[in-house]
Amino acid sequence: MPGLGTSFGRGGATTFQQDLQNSDCILIMGSNMAEQHPVGFQWVIEAKERGAKVIHVDPRYTRTSAMADLHVPIRGGTDIAFLGGLARYILENDRDFREYVRHYTNAHVIIKDGYQGPEAQPDDVGAAQASEAGSRAGGKPTGLFSGWQADEQLYRIDTWGYAGTSGETAGGGKVQAADVSGEQAHGAHGVNLDRGEPPQVDFDLEHPNCVFQILRRHFARYTPEMVADVCGVPEEQFVRVAEWLCDNSGRERTSAFVYAVGWTQHTHGVQNIRAASIVQLLLGNIGRPGGGIMALRGHANIQGSTDIPTLYNILPGYIPMPHPQQTPTLATFVEKNGPKTGAWGSLDTYMTSLLKAWFGEAATAENDFCFNHLPRIDGDHSIYPTMVRMIEGQCKGLFAVGQNPVVGSANARLQREALSSLEWLVVRDLAEIETASFWYDSPEIEAGETSPEQIGTEIFFLPAASHTEKDGTFTNTQRLLQWHHKAVESPEDCRSELHFMYHLGKRIKARVEGSTDPIDRPILDVTWDYPTQGPDDEPDAEAVLQEIGGRHADGSYVGKYQELAADGSTACGSWIHAGIYNDGENQTARKKPHTEQNWIAPEWGWAWPSNRHILYNRASADPEGNPWSERKRYVWWSAEEGKWQSVGDDVDFPPTKAPDYVPEEDAEGMAAMRGTNPFILHPDGLGWLYAPTGLVDGPLPTHYEPHESPVDNALYGQRANPTRQEFDREDNPYHPPGSDVFPFVLSTYRLTEHHTAGGMSRTLPYLAELQPELFVEVSPELAQERGLRHADWATIVTARTAIEARVMVTDRVRPMTIGSHPPRTVHQVGLPYHWGRNGIAKGDAANELVSMVLDLNVHIAEYKVLTCDVRPGRRPRGKDLTAYVEGYRRRAGVLHEARHPGD
């Protein structure tokens, strides 16, 4: 989501699923939409029926490919090379939507002189640390941006900014880098511009250091030949994709991109999305009907759980968590985190309202609205490092709520090690998942390495309520909150999380009552009085939603976020959700049939922000405010009425701000936003082709090989993402680059018939029978090479462990021919990851094989590409398995030491 956040301002899909029907061309990449989002895929079919081209770029031929006009097989992990190739094709052939690019993106902004891109030759860098990478690369450019700190393996980003500015958050330490990245990058906090104007610009796009020219240089070597060499995509096929996209973009036509975790689960995941954003901005497809980037989330409320996060580094509405160095007071917090211009210019109102919602009467102007009640983050406190801290005995208790890390997280064995090291563990789920049963049933117990008598974790398994047993909202993949009504009471001990958290909070509050210890003050002050109902004293979810949506001091509901105040007169749990109780009505519970309203269906649920369905839709009109074309009419300026009009959506722009509005000197907030700038959360109101801040691994996407890859980087001396987050531990061993012992590329994925870690599908007879056993998809060529027999067993091995699966020999998986001198074949292997030891459909978990190595921007693991070996037959059992894997490690020379620069 930072990929979208840094590019456009908000960390959510820019469009909505129904709008896909308006597309003239849909590129599905990093997503297997027909399989993972079958019902959403109906809108792709609708587009196809209207004549749209559908392209699927994916290593495997899937059910999505079967429906596409063109399936382009690609070597896993090379998406940036492909997308960068598209960017180059567009730029070199003048196929960009120039007027859109000129006015709505930061193409015209001039970047600091000190900026140097990854095309620099080792000698140019002048930094000693890069020389090693350069010498190893045999004359290839370094692949490093300016500011690389080899000793810390981090960038100092002060050379990346707009020329004439100085507000970028400085790099220079993992600690701080994590602060400005990730979900916090939503809106790119921290860039300060006077009245929203970049200081140096060139609207002719000719200045050598303007973004447009930097972009051209950056992608100059991403030629079709290079794409073929790196991705294994034949040139003709690549050009066909590029032509289809270019032909179907511009004034009259729009193309849409669809992605999912096939782009995020990489050590360069955020940059995959950045690359797509660049292509879509160049083609002028953002903010327009049938355009946009549709991010497909995998869970009912995954968008919602970042909007109102259960994430360590943000508060509701993407407000950063405070940091001890930067933020001794609320004022400094606002100053450090909120740019003066754009929608983030009002951060003080959002933050104060949040604190009022949380601490109520106790939050006063005198005590900084209890700002100091908030805990501070000063490092990576995300889940993977936290699991490691459990192993080290520093983290003692864990709530695993509706989550099954033993199956769903990378390096399942390490996950179990962490759980075994806890003092106490609370598991809440519908069925007894593997995370609850690891202490008596696990591969380690099977191998005789441990036993229940050796595991000291105290475990509470609490049965959960199902979605039919509680009121509440899910935020779907298009930011739409939909209320689901309670149908029945939950059985016996089953309770909702709302019930659990509320009553646990009550108990904890009771235990510290009367305490004078200052550490208990926040608990005593937090507002915790929600009406309850029913036999189980279920808290009223509507009351919670009302708190989220916000109230004025007089108790009336906040209508929109612009009403929020910094003086404590409003309380609002999440500023982006302000207005969710507009007119006293639960907006999310609106269920007006789609047949009785326009195709956007604004009266069904409620989309944040302000019920907008296509974000940045100001961009669907030209700078003067007229629709780019009749065919793509969506939002336009009506001079007669002095306000913006739309075909039925909410306009993502101040409603009466004329296209010719120019900010005055010293203007702040939204007043500092020109009438032509559609990306109102960015301090400059522009779509960011180039991200001067917000990302730790570069302002532009660069092709790097995955952490584990059989080949070298054909473009740069730097092999993999230099900032990737590694865990060099004996229990998390990595494969050496290009290891012959692990010669094949493995990708994990999902199937239509199952759900994620299987807790909600392997337990159901009707789903279990559809895909009863784990299987591994291999090409006929690989089957021949390794002697694998169709439908027989195979063992898949990594340095982590070995698992077994049924063999699916299929033409849908093909070896890729890459490189030209000489060409070489890379075999790819597909492995769905749903299985585990419990339920009806049982099998080994694919994530046993995956190592913990993360994208530093967001701390997401690289599930999509790793290397492995595949052998016929079942895996060894018991101690033999340990010896078997140990043999592999020995032969591969797996060592536990930090990587070398350039690797």
């Binding site: 027999r789 169709h790 439908a791 067993w793 033409d811």
Partner: protein, 350 residues
């Protein structure tokens, strides 16, 4: 559906069958056979009771005719034994059916309706009516009670004997199973011959030789018809008849022919004079008749499991132009391609 042995699947178990393709590519555009060699049809669900019932039904029907004719001819020894055999057959038949169905109520459920489109429905009514009339005739034959009803029963039973002895052929012929349906013109004669042979053989064995002349003739004549009709059927079936040359159906068919021929020969040559030959011949013919029914029964299963036997003849019909099949494609100019008319559909339709 049970799990096959570890590491094998239905596909692997069928290794070597003509339907198997490389496991990677299971088909090509325009495939003429089904992917994975999967059958188009379902195998029947019937168990061992059904071929036994074929036999007992044939026995009852032919025995009733034999007994009735023997009555008319003044051969009460043969008649009484014929009625007894008919009664045994008519009694065993529903018993077998009920065993197959699971409970008696399920048999009587068939009397809920009378459906001429269903040979089984018609047959059930025939069997029921035969059962009652055979019982009456048998009571009179053995006890002399209810003479008028018995006489009527005798006539009715004889009249129904033919259908009772042959309707099971119609039953199996009216299915989609190629080896049964394509033999629809021959199967009734196979079953008729078999019925005559079975009834004759039982009567031959049981009736004093002096009175058993008609029974011996019936046995020999029935056996000849059974074997000849079977040969003709197999010949006419062509490749669809392959199940009769392989597997259980093939072995049972061989045994049937051998035993029936040998038994009939023994009775024809020595049956009148030698009690032992009569008994042995009767036993062989009876066994042969049972085997023949089992062979037909098993052939149906084997035939259903062979997708080629279902698909290829259909495809040939289409290619010959006998029928257009169930597929329609538009012609290049967009008009519907209907130049090949399908044959008129006859018989009882729904």
């Amino acid at each position: 559906m049970s799990r096959p042995e570890l590491g094998t699947t239905r596909l692997a178990r069928r290794a070597g069958s003509p339907q198997q393709r490389g496991p990677a590519s299971v088909g090509h555009e325009g495939a003429k056979t089904t992917p994975y060699g999967r059958p188009v049809l379902k195998e029947p669900v019937w168990t061992w009771e059904i071929p036994c019932y074929f036999y007992t039904g044939g026995l009852a029907g032919a025995s009733a005719i034999l007994a009735h004719l023997a009555e008319g001819q003044g051969n009460p020894q043969l008649a009484r034994r014929g009625w007894a055999a008919a009664l045994a057959g008519a009694g065993a038949s529903p018993a077998f059916l009920i065993a197959d169905l699971g409970k008696p109520a399920r048999f009587f459920n068939m009397l809920r309706v009378l459906k001429v489109t269903s040979p089984m429905s018609v047959g059930t009514w025939i069997l029921s009516a035969s059962g009652v009339s055979i019982a009456l005739a048998a009571v009179r034959a053995w006890t002399g009670l209810f003479p008028r009803a018995g006489r009527a029963g005798s006539a009715v039973a004889a009249a129904l004997g033919g259908p009772l002895g042959t309707y099971t052929a119609a039953l199996v012929a009216d299915t989609a199973i190629p080896v049964w349906h394509e033999a629809r013109h021959e199967l009734p004669f196979v079953f008729a011959g078999s019925a005559a042979a079975s009834a004759g053989a039982l009567a031959t064995a049981w009736t004093p030789a002096k009175h058993a002349g008609p029974a011996r003739w019936a046995t020999v004549g029935g056996a000849v018809v059974e074997v000849a009709a079977t040969q003709l059927m197999e010949h006419r079936l062509g490749s669809v008849g392959e199940p009769y040359h392989e597997g259980p159906a093939g072995r049972l068919g061989m045994a049937a022919k051998a035993m029936t021929t040998a038994g009939a020969a023994a009775i024809a040559l020595r049956g009148r004079r030698s009690r032992a030959a009569a008994l042995a011949g009767a036993a062989l013919v009876t066994a042969g008749s049972l085997c023949e029914r089992w062979s037909v029964f098993k052939a149906g299963f084997q035939s259903a499991a062979r997708p080629d036997d279902t698909v290829v003849p259909q495809r040939e019909r289409i290619e010959r132009g006998d029928t257009r099949g169930a597929v329609r494609r538009t012609s290049p100019n967009g008009r519907v391609d209907t130049d090949k008319a399908s044959p008129a559909i006859v018989a009882h339709r729904d």
